[in-house]
Amino acid sequence: MAQQRLAIWTAEEDLEEDVDLSIALDSYGQNVQYEDSHLQQPQIDESTLIAMQQHMAQQAAFQQIPDVVKSFIVHFHQSVLENNLAEITVAYESGWNKYTEKFYSKTEWPEAELIAPLVNDDPIFLILYRELYYRHVYSRLQPNIDDRFHSYENSCELFNYLLNSDGPVQLELPEQWLWDIIDEFIYQYQVFCTWRSKVTTKTQDELMMLAEGGPVWSSYSVLNVLYSLMQKSKVNEYIIAQREGKSPEEIAEIVGEYGQRPLYRMLGYFSIIGLLRVHVHLGDFTLGLKVMENVELNQKSPFTRVTACHVATYYYVGFCYIMLRRYPDAIRTFVTVLNFIMRMRQYHTRSYQYDQINKTADRMYALFAMCHALSPSRLDDNIANIAKERYGEQYAKMARGGPDALAAFEELFVYACPKFITANPPPYEDPSAIDAIIASAADAESAAQAAQQSEPTHRHLELFLADVAAQLPVPTLKSFLKLYTSLGAKKLANFLDADEEELVQEMMVLKQSSRSISRVTGSEGTSLLEGQTITTSDLNFVIDENMVHIAESTVGRRYAGWFIKNTERAQKILDDLKNLPLPIPPKTASTTNGAPAPEANTQQRPARTGGQKTRTVNRRRFLLFVPFSSGSPSLRLPQVLLHQLRTMASTSALTLDDLANSPPFTTPVDISTHLSYPVAEIPELATSENADGPSERQARPLSTERLYIGNLHPSVDEYTLLQIFSKFGKVTKLDFLFHKAGALKGKPRGYAFVEYANQDVSLSSPFLMRPYRYGWCMFVMCAYCLRWLVFSHFVLAHRSMNHIVVISHGYIDHDHTHEA
């Protein structure tokens, strides 16, 4: 169907060209008639003059293009011709944005026709160029109606080329770009629909064009493109075959010549996500989830390779779940992706879509806060805390229920919901109907008009608020029930000043709201719409005639996962250390190293004898996060490691054999002995270092220029920080971040970035040896690759803090090349 429609459209395009030509001919013809008696010469002159003028104007415009941009375009074109993915990616992700910032932040890029000579009129590259051109117009400038129509035409041209060429095209594009093509296509469709539905603001010309617009940006044409891409690439068949574990040959057989090419496969894949988005815009939440039937929502799915796509997918899926009243599923969806965004934060600060991702994340926190208020869960305290921090005021109102709650729900919903659109245009083809609409809008004044304009969003909001309103008394009821194990309905009704029958009915609502359909574990590989009824509340009750019986389930605190995770992490650090290429100790070091060796040292080195090859962990100190929660039953494993690390800290050098041979602990060590790490030892350590050989303590070059300083105590201010870090080199930039909104507005965020002028920054200053803030640790790491570089010394004396502990001063070697 899409092909057909596209074909019709191309026919129209031809037609338009014909029209243009005939107009040109007509005017020429008229000239001929009019100037019949004259010589032919001047006519030719006139037309050539016009052509010349046009040509010169173009020439002038072409001259205007900066040379770097010209060479960028030429280079870009070359990369596309060669299908050189790496070069295309660079040009696309950094080059384009760089020159946009530099030359075109407020104006359009040069028209495609203008740069055509640079690329030998390569039609494919010009289509791709226009794709970027219009995207720039949409994102930075105000698109006019011509832009809107032409960007549609260009998208069709692109998809037509991809879908209707003879066989699959030999083009390769980075995945990021492919996603952006689909994403932008839907975005422009959504923007167009929103713009189109506002009848009253249109000029006469625009009304004319819209009346004749036909299929431009129609819902059917957009769906056709997406479905055609899916079908051409056989992406659903591909996903199923992969899940069934078919061999590559079998899969190749199944997906056919198109599906084998990554370009088509990824376009098909992204089209599924695109469909999800389109359906959500149109308010069809079931269908949105239904098209996602075959897509696995997990961190291994192909869509995770493009972060923007990953985030968008979860956002729309989560929103669908909200509208299906499946709040636990929505919460799980948001938590997964918000955790992901948090972990990836350091990486996508570099991405040109960083802002977009952050905005979506912020919306998801709002949606999460709404779900959390409707169906409290303890899935992830961390995310819940951030959501409460950002939307504390609204969250408090929503969780309390009562009359204030609705306003808070409305505020967050309007902020966080996707842009809803109306599938069909106002009747532009019927001028009288349009006039009637304009007239009625003029009568009803701007207030009614505004309401009409936000119509689709308003409709969905109303439905959602109706659901919420039904649940408003639930929190109050719950808080009463929590106080009792059994209670007469009459008494409860008296408490609440309500009618007994009303109350009993309200109790049924409470019961209803504590049940939800949710995907259960082990349902991987089934549709996102699947699920079973689960209990979402820990408060359970039942009514026996007029007596309410209440039972509360308590969930014991979970420790195991946490300790296992951290034990594994500690083991990994240990393994990494062992595998590091160790420096060869100085000649004398192997025998006389550490002349003032502490006694722990001598005690623990029986293994270093004979011809055994000595591997020395030479001054390679490292840190370990050992969280502790007082009273937790099983601190043994971390304790053992703690002790080993502490031993290392107190020796100037020790071998790995020491670690391996250290005696196992038979009695648990009182954690407090570790926590109050004696301050007095530190200067001592420092001197023993120095005595060891000052030559070894030379400045360690720090191979990055931007450092992340984290976990700052709230009392640390910019000035203090600058003082500290100026000791190691000239600080060129200090980004000290503050909360911009929420309850903590104006307070420091607790982290900062420092940049040095000189890359060889010495971090060996004894300053770092001194405990800086008691009970607080300051981290320093490379902001680009997330490697720990150095950490300040600190002492742990604070029991209320449930993370961070230990160990010594030092650093971990850092090398950017690992990160390629």
């Binding site: 169907m1 819902s219 059917y220 479905y227 079908q231 308010g283 069809d284 939440f285 079931t286 269908l287 239904k290 509208m323 299906l324 009243r325 109306t422 599938a423 069909n424 009747p427 109907a433 689709p456 409709r459 439905l463 109706a466 659901d467 039904a470 029958e501 009915q505 309200e506 049924m508 019961k511 209803q512 049940r515 549709s527 719409l529 699947e530 699920g531 079973q532 009824t533 009750f541 009514i543 026996d544 005639e545 019986h549 209440i550 039972a551 509360e552 389930s553 308590t554 014991g556 605190r557 420790y559 195991a560 996962g561 296992i564 034990t567 594994e568 083991q571 494993l637 790995l656 391996a660």
Partner: protein
Amino acid sequence: MASEWLSPPTRSELIENLVSGVDRYNPSNVGILEDYLYHQIRSEEYDCLANLAILKLYQFNPDLYNPDVVINILIKALTASPLPDFNLCVSLLDDRTTASQLDEPDPLPTILPILKGLHSLLFRCRFPSFWEVYQSAELELLRDNYTVEVAGFEDAVRAVAIRAVRATFTRISSERLGSYLNLSGPALTAYVQKLGWSIDASTSVVSVPPNPDNQIEATVVQESVKLPQLTKVIAHSMTKV
């Protein structure tokens, strides 16, 4: 539960293909789906996704729009409470600027608020009020023109009430149950017996059989560590350094 909602056992293969395939967008299939809707109405079946497919076609093709079909779909969705079906259907009803192609005035704008009100009452478990409103004189239009055609509509509403009662009560007075079901006397007794619930003859209290939702138990969920969780840690200690 959800899988039955996704594809009811009564759905034929033809409809399944329409609902799951691209053909759902083809306007010429609207007749098949509408016939299926009327089949649901006559034989007390319900298929939400197929009905949503009709609304989708109406959304994209305003000229197909048939208000009677829409109202019937909404009435069917009404009795799916507390599932969100009713809202999902309403979500797909785009604002209509003109109804010029219709011969008669569009009944939907008057009926939709009524249905929304009824839905709200059902969703908020206000069953006695529901019956009161439903049987009021203002709703005669709805009763005479629409719900009378929907086979078993009142029983479907009762089923909604029964779902709520079953989850919330262990015993309930027959008077209260009667007000929820709009039944009394022998009719109520017969209904309760059909459900397999028992009525105490002397006190006329109905006992609701135990089910997962009306049995409560205070539990403490303790963590239990499974061996597979520890495999990595244990395996690591086995590797020779």
